[in-house]
Amino acid sequence: MRGDAEAHEFVAPGTLTAVLELLAGAPGEWTPIAGGTELMVAHAAGRLPASKLVNLWGIPGLRFIETTPESIAIGAGTTFTDIRGHAAIASDLPLLRRAAAWIGSIANQSRATLGGNLVNGSPAADSSPALLVYDAVVELISVRGRRRIPYSDFHTGYKKNVLASDELLYALHVPRRFSAHRQYLRKVGTRRAMAISKVALGATALVEDGFVRELRLAAASLAAFPARLYRTEDALCGKSIDTGSKRAARAALLAEVLPIDDIRSTAEYRRRVAANLLDEFLTELQAPEVTR
């Protein structure tokens, strides 16, 4: 069944304030739409439940990248093309840049927004593992004001998040203190272009004198939402990377992840590949750092 354009009310208040007032006036009634790369697919197939949509695309004040010495702020309406093209992101957040480059195609990257990727909340979201291992903070906004929470607390379940019904995701704040960390991000999909992840694993690690001083691991498609792998991190923190710690980390990861069988892959494949990706990263850590 084709979607019916006439079945949806779609308004463009034009400013962030006006959008927030609309949401506050009828909490839960309006569905925000930004680049449309998710909702328009559902619309075309006649599967878009929202009857009332409010436009975020082109709203001034949502599409920005601002840098301070400590962090990079990325507006929720920033596209992945914007992210790919930004010099400070390329130098300080290379994993985020890499994730942006493998989202869909050029035509998807020019429309898909960082905020949309996170609010949509797919377990396979491409930008999530990078943001998680960089300790990103999300800033939420409503007529009641603004609040910031760690991105790792944003998702609460399958396609569920902490946003109140009158709130929008406003921006991501990503610290710039990971340049001394070893960094890793790999996505495994059916093919290189246009494929949604079967599994993705990201990591940042600070290794000193052969010991893991800090470690962040995050995965996509290994649970109901993108998440840090805290128990696997615990298995490695303070340790040197050797056969024993790698084996313990693999066991911790296999005990921690909760993948499912779905149209893209199987739980068993995802578990094995996730463990192999972790092993690949840890093997990289064992090697002396090379200039990338």
Partner: protein
Amino acid sequence: MSANWPAIRITVNDIEREVQVPPMKRLLDVLREDLRLTGTKEGCGEGECGSCSVRMDGELVNSCLVPVLQAQGSSIETVEGLERDGVLHPLQQAFLACGGAQCGICTPGMLMAASHLLDRNPHPTMAEIREGLAGNLCRCTGFIRIFESVVAAASRPEPSTHAR
């Protein structure tokens, strides 16, 4: 009902147009049905195949995923806008010369993706061409002739008729 629809102004191939349609109508359908620009094709209708690619304010977009209200005030270029004064765009000439078009469904999208690529990167490597066209699927030519067409267009001296 139609009286309640907003008037939406879009510049399409350098001509200002105005349509009064449901704001959730896809840009693809507005181009084809309301503006009778049927060069832009629908393939998958879900942003995977690139057949409906057009340029929106210079960026490459899938017109099947753009609700027309979001195109308000923008400048759209479709495959019909590539030709100038009866002279085909160098990419169109190269697709003809190299056998880059077969059934023709993917061709308009391939041309728009390739024009977007060459505007930003006039002399792309084969890897850059492959990435630039990765969102456009072809079921006929096997892609090689399409890539060769882009290489051929990029190797031509810039003809003055297409100076932008």
